[in-house]
């Protein structure tokens, strides 16, 4: 079923080659629009749904910008049938988040083609904006050359985001169509692969040439995956130490102002209305005084640790590790570290991996009669 093709790179400009490939898809009668990151007034890169091929000129899916997880946008575009076909150019973590949202019935794959590009990683929003302010000329290509294939910890003096440094999923395995970067000669050609029948059809429609996977690809992917996994494990170890009792957990989130940006930015925090925004948490004013009297003092805003622990319980099985929670935090709290640490454990407990397989039901949506019998009853420490 898999079919391998390639995109030719001209003038040492791989970003332009990807743009041309997107344009060839958009030119098809069967494709109505392309969702892709693109430059806005030379200042920043935001997702856009593009129908006019001229506007694809500003598309730059390989820039170091990752302003938001676009799975949330895919959800908006597909929660009912969009009435046409959209090619969505996404990072691997965005694709995995889309799959989680499909399972939660908040997105649809009908009329959607997931186009994934090997992920070079990204900068945090503030770092990206600072970098862009210094000049955006050829930034996408500069970034690719700077980080592929070695996945260093920084780019032009600015740190790659912690989430990306520790992400063991550089390849968008779940995409309908995949564009490879690792192991490719960025000045010559980029491998393209279709993983599904709908991906195949599109490659057929544009008469994509038959090709071979670059010989170095597997080794290059393994190498970056290994390096990032090692960074991830070091991150887990450090974070576990920082939060290993409830006092330390509260301290970790000491600067939290309960703005809930981390939840808004999270692609898989799926409730339409979060319990923390309901009147359950509009405590009666006398309660605050009660707490202050009982404990001598109460940290305000209240419920901070409660909020984070509840979010961990509600969505960590769906966490894709995109790091947008940390990215969104006004006070630079390393939120992602705690969520990934917890997610790693909760997903393993249910033999689940967020976004791995669209057929796998979310762990808390199913049960069976004879499972986990060992946790029933009283045990001693």
């Amino acid at each position: 079923m898999k079919r391998t093709s390639h995109i030719l790179v001209e003038n040492n400009d791989p970003s332009a080659a990807i743009r041309r490939f997107l344009a060839s898809l958009l030119a098809l009668d069967s494709v109505d629009a392309v969702l892709t990151p693109r430059w806005l007034s030379e200042k920043t890169v935001m997702p856009a749904l593009i129908n006019d091929p001229d506007q694809l000129e500003q598309a730059d899916p390989c820039s170091p910008a990752f302003m938001m997880n676009s799975a949330k946008l895919v959800s908006r575009l597909t929660r009912k049938t969009p009435g046409g076909k959209i090619v969505a150019v996404l990072r691997p973590c965005e694709i995995r988040a889309v799959k989680e949202l499909v399972k939660l019935k908040q997105a649809e794959t009908d009329g959607l083609i997931l186009l994934g590009i090997d992920c070079p990683g990204a900068l945090g929003n503030r770092d990206f904006q600072a970098l862009a302010a210094e000049g955006t000329e050829g930034l996408g290509n500069r970034f690719l050359r700077g980080v592929i294939p070695d996945a260093p910890a920084e780019f032009e003096g600015r740190p790659i985001s912690e989430a990306c440094k520790a992400c063991e999923f550089p390849v968008p395995d779940g995409a309908d169509i995949l564009i490879g970067l690792y192991g490719a000669d960025l000045n010559e050609k980029l491998p393209v692969q279709s993983n599904t029948p709908s991906g195949n059809d599109l490659l057929d429609d544009i008469s994509a040439p038959e090709s071979e996977e670059p010989a170095d690809r597997k080794a290059a992917v393994d190498k970056v995956t290994k390096a990032r996994t090692a960074r991830r494990d070091a991150m887990f170890e450090k974070t576990a130490e920082q939060v290993n009792n409830l006092d330390k957990f509260a301290d970790y989130f000491a600067n939290c102002v309960n703005c809930y940006n981390c939840r808004v930015a999270c692609p898989v925090c799926y409730c339409r209305e979060c319990v923390f925004n309901t009147n359950v948490f509009d405590h009666e004013p006398f309660r605050y005084l009660q707490w202050a009297k009982r404990r001598g003092g109460v940290r305000l805003p209240a419920d901070t640790a409660f909020y984070h622990l509840t979010r961990l319980a509600h969505m960590s099985t769906a966490c894709v590790g995109c790091g947008q929670c940390s990215n969104a935090c006004p006070n630079d709290i390393p939120v992602m570290e705690v969520f990934r640490l917890t997610a790693h454990r909760t997903q393993a407990a249910f033999d689940y991996e967020a976004g791995r397989n669209i057929e796998e039901p979310p762990p808390l949506s199913v049960f069976s009669e004879n499972e986990f019998t060992g946790i029933v009853g009283i045990t001693k420490r």
């Binding site: 330390k248 319980a313 029933v376 009853g377």
Partner: protein
């Protein structure tokens, strides 16, 4: 460090364990007063946040008790509860709450004696284990 007067927050199902509590009372069985019973219509409705809140408020133990497998009034609420308990037993230890402090049992409506015995056992364990760091947030 021993703890003389531990607090155990219990979420008990209306159809079984709560009825067993009633029976224990009617039968004049003695048990320690450390358990605060919260009656719920089914253990399946015990959201993870209730358990988290109890621990954050300083509970030494949280006990969830429902109907034996196959006996759930709503067919499968107890299985859903078991998954949530499994989830919490993975999450809470990361933050210093040992998994033994969250207990799930099945106690049927006619098991008044078992109800009283379970409370005694839980209280003994909570006393013995004493306090872990953190909690009153």
């Amino acid at each position: 460090m021993q703890k003389e007067d531990p607090t155990i927050i219990a979420f008990v199902c209306n159809w079984c364990t709560y009825t067993a509590a009633d029976l224990a009372g009617v039968s004049r069985l003695n048990y320690p007063k450390n358990v605060r019973l919260i009656r719920v219509m089914c253990t399946g409705m015990v959201d993870t946040q209730y358990v988290i809140k109890a621990f954050l408020e300083g509970a030494d133990m949280v006990w969830i008790s429902g109907c034996h497998p196959g006996d759930c009034h709503y067919i499968n609420g107890n299985y859903k509860a078991r998954r949530k308990v499994k989830l919490l037993k993975e999450i809470l230890p990361l933050f210093g709450v040992s998994p033994e402090r969250l207990v799930l049992t099945w106690i049927g409506a006619s098991d008044g004696i078992e109800f009283a015995q379970t409370i005694k056992q839980l209280t003994d364990i909570a006393r013995e284990q004493g306090a872990e760091a953190g909690g009153a947030a």
